[in-house]
């Protein structure tokens, strides 16, 4: 599943990319004039320190850019990394199979789980097929039937979230997008098995929360989670499309900030530069954290695990 392609540099990574280009050019000349060796070493050092300082001081909008990176690992990548023989299950049993929502049975380190997650799609055709990771109501109903299956067979639930949000369209409204999300929120709150959710890219609004009512919520270091897309926020509050960076900042949507607000439980480390630099490493990190959380939650009785989840969400809010 590893990408053989070189990571595409993002806008804020341009200085780094230029330095890397210069180094490549220098390296080619190295055989002719060996005295360049020292220069190259110096440049390498400069490159490393620039890289480190760049990634230590990321702005919220840079996190957003990494979270939306076209090479970022998606739900299927994680599923097949954790369990190459995972069994995919299709359809909402009511007429539609929404490709934006993937579901199936996985065995992770000996723990059997029912897993669902949003899928963005890699190639253009793939992206269209997956509706760019924005589920229709049928996608949420597909997830719901898998949650019910998990509850019946006492299997823990694992949700991977990477979506801009639920799809806004005519058919989505006609088929009652809001009811699909609301029902998921309600039913997921009530299941008697452990639920672990991880935000691997974008956690966008109700469309993310609909599979995010979990006992433990994890976030990858460069992922984001917000009540509305920053573009939406900027256009409503600032009435301008070029205030996205300000909106990112104001909404406090990065993993670190969400952790400080107490909404999530753990931030998972990513390889330097983001998950797309090393699929294996990020999959391993995330897997280790999920397994640990599941093991802990599996000690609770069915009634306790439901109560734990409901108490957790009962406490969210800030008022006087």
């Amino acid at each position: 599943m590893a990408t053989d392609k070189k990571p595409i540099p993002l806008e804020f990574e341009q200085p780094l990319a230029i330095l890397a280009q210069n180094m490549d050019a220098l390296e080619k000349q190295l055989s002719d004039n060996p005295e360049l060796e020292a220069d190259l070493d110096r440049m390498q050092e400069q490159y490393n320190s620039l890289k480190r300082s760049l990634y230590l001081n990321l702005r919220p909008i840079d996190h957003l850019a990494i979270a939306r990176h076209p090479q970022r690992p998606y739900t299927r990548d994680y599923f097949s990394a954790w369990d190459p023989n995972w069994i995919e299950l299709h359809g909402d049993r009511k007429g539609v199979d929404d490709a934006a929502m993937v579901g199936g049975l996985l065995e992770i380190d000996g723990i059997k789980v029912v897993a669902v997650g949003t899928q963005k799609g890699r190639t253009l055709r793939d992206k269209q097929h997956c509706n760019f990771g924005m589920p229709q109501p049928e996608g949420y109903r597909k997830a719901l039937r898998l949650f019910r299956h998990a509850d019946k067979f006492k299997l823990p639930i694992l949700c991977l979230i990477d979506t801009q949000g639920a799809y806004p369209g005519i058919a989505a409204e006609e088929h009652n997008q809001s009811q699909a999300i609301a029902e998921n929120l309600m039913e997921l709150a009530g299941v008697t098995v452990p639920v672990v959710a991880a935000i691997t890219g974008e956690g966008g609004s109700g469309g993310a929360l609909a599979i995010g009512v979990a006992n433990r919520i994890l976030m990858l270091e460069h992922s984001v989670y917000s009540v509305i897309t920053p573009e939406g926020c900027a256009s409503i509050l600032w009435r301008s499309n070029d205030k996205v960076s300000e909106a990112c900042q104001a909404m406090k949507m990065t993993a670190k900030e969400i952790l400080q607000l107490g909404v999530i439980d753990q931030v998972i480390k990513e390889p330097l530069g983001g998950a797309h630099h090393d699929y294996q490493a990020v999959a391993a990190n995330l897997k280790a954290a999920i397994v640990l959380q599941l093991q802990e939650l599996l000690k609770l009785s069915p009634k306790e695990v439901r109560q734990h989840r409901q108490d957790k969400f009962r406490a969210f809010g800030s008022f006087r």
């Binding site: 639920a166 799809y167 806004p168 369209g169 005519i170 989505a172 409204e173 006609e174 088929h175 009652n176 997008q177 809001s178 009811q179 999300i181 609301a182 029902e183 929120l185 309600m186 039913e187 709150a189 009530g190 609004s205 109700g206 929360l209 609909a210 995010g212 009512v213 989670y225 917000s226 009540v227 509305i228 939406g232 926020c233 409503i236 509050l237 600032w238 300000e246 909106a247 104001a250 909404m251 406090k252 949507m253 969400i258 607000l261 909404v263 109560q307 989840r309 409901q310 969400f313 009962r314 969210f316 809010g317 800030s318 008022f319 006087r320």
Partner: protein
């Protein structure tokens, strides 16, 4: 058409044109008279109020505030407000073009309310009910921590007293200024409704103009009954967002109450003058059903941060 008709219709056309160009000017003028948004009829405000803010000519339902709504639904002087003093803090220190705290004060000044929902216990045709009314006039009826908490506490109060729960929704969605915490209110309210539902409680959700976003995608759509007001616009994504996404114009009746009824999303569309009667009938119909049989298994969830002491409505400052 003879000449007389032509003159008559010309007269009519002129009248229509004049009415349309008639501006809604000063506040005093607006206070005395209101123009119907639909048929452009000029209505005497007092008459309009006695008609429950419904245009007598074309049945257009004006938006009404939470206080008016309570007056219309609850028996006289029966409403006792819960959590009247709860106010939102500013967890994110949010600042767009103005500070969130300043915007809150401004919203309160405009609406005369502390938050976008009023909750409390009341009687509806003699039967006890927990009633929550949202007010679009306050911060667009948006759901932040306080709205989520008040609705949750109201549900817990209804659970404790085994009374039906009625929420009148009117909201633009989640409140962006409280960020992710606003989003979590969707899960919080849905979670407590799960408990309420398992305990056999009756929940009636009323959708009034407009109900959108995070509110629709949580408690508004979870009612045992979902009643919409005529003409109300209800949906998940706003019209503009959808038009931008799919790049085509939407039909005029898209996302109206009648459209939702046609697509099987609401139980009924009930006009305002029949609303109280309908609620009373639904409550009576379900009296004694459900609640006693399986109330024991989840009612323990209602403890903890429960509701504060009820306060009569007059006690608000």
């Amino acid at each position: 058409m003879d000449l007389k008709d032509w003159f008559a219709s010309r007269q009519k056309r002129r009248e229509i044109q004049e009415v349309i160009t008639q501006p809604l000017t000063t506040e005093e003028y607006c206070a005395l008279w209101k123009q119907c948004f639909q048929c452009r009829e000029l209505l005497y405000t007092r008459d309009l109020r006695t008609n429950l803010d419904v245009c007598p000519k074309c049945d257009y339902h004006f938006r009404i505030g939470a206080l008016d709504r309570i007056e219309q639904l609850a028996d006289e002087n029966s409403f006792e407000e819960l959590d009247a003093d709860m106010r939102s803090s500013d967890p994110l220190n949010f600042f767009d073009t103005e500070a969130y705290t300043k915007r809150q004060d401004e919203a309160s000044r405009k609406s005369g309310l502390r938050e976008a929902v009023l909750t409390g216990l009341c009687k509806i045709e003699g039967q006890t009910a927990a009633l929550g009314c949202m007010d679009f006039g306050h911060f667009g009826g948006s759901m932040g921590s306080v709205v989520g908490e008040k609705v949750t506490r109201l549900t817990e109060a209804a659970l404790e007293r085994k009374s039906p729960l009625i929420v009148v929704c009117s909201s633009g969605g989640a409140r962006m200024q409280e960020g992710i915490l606003s989003l979590m209110q969707m899960a919080k309210t849905s979670s407590v409704l799960k408990t309420f539902n398992d305990a056999g409680g009756l929940y009636i959700s009323i959708l009034s103009e407009p109900t959108f976003g995070g509110v629709t995608a949580s408690f508004a759509m979870l009612g045992d009954f979902i009643i919409a007001e005529p003409g109300a616009r209800i949906g998940f994504a706003g019209r503009r967002v959808i038009e931008q996404t799919i790049r085509q114009k939407l039909p005029a009746d898209f996302q109206t109450a009648e459209y939702l009824l046609k697509h099987g999303q609401v139980d009924m569309v009930v006009s305002r003058n029949k609303l109280k009667e309908t609620l009373a009938r639904l409550i009576t119909f379900h009296q004694g059903a459900g609640t006693s049989a399986n109330a024991n298994n989840s009612s323990e969830n209602s403890n903890g941060q429960g509701s504060s002491e009820p306060k009569p409505l007059g006690a608000r400052n």
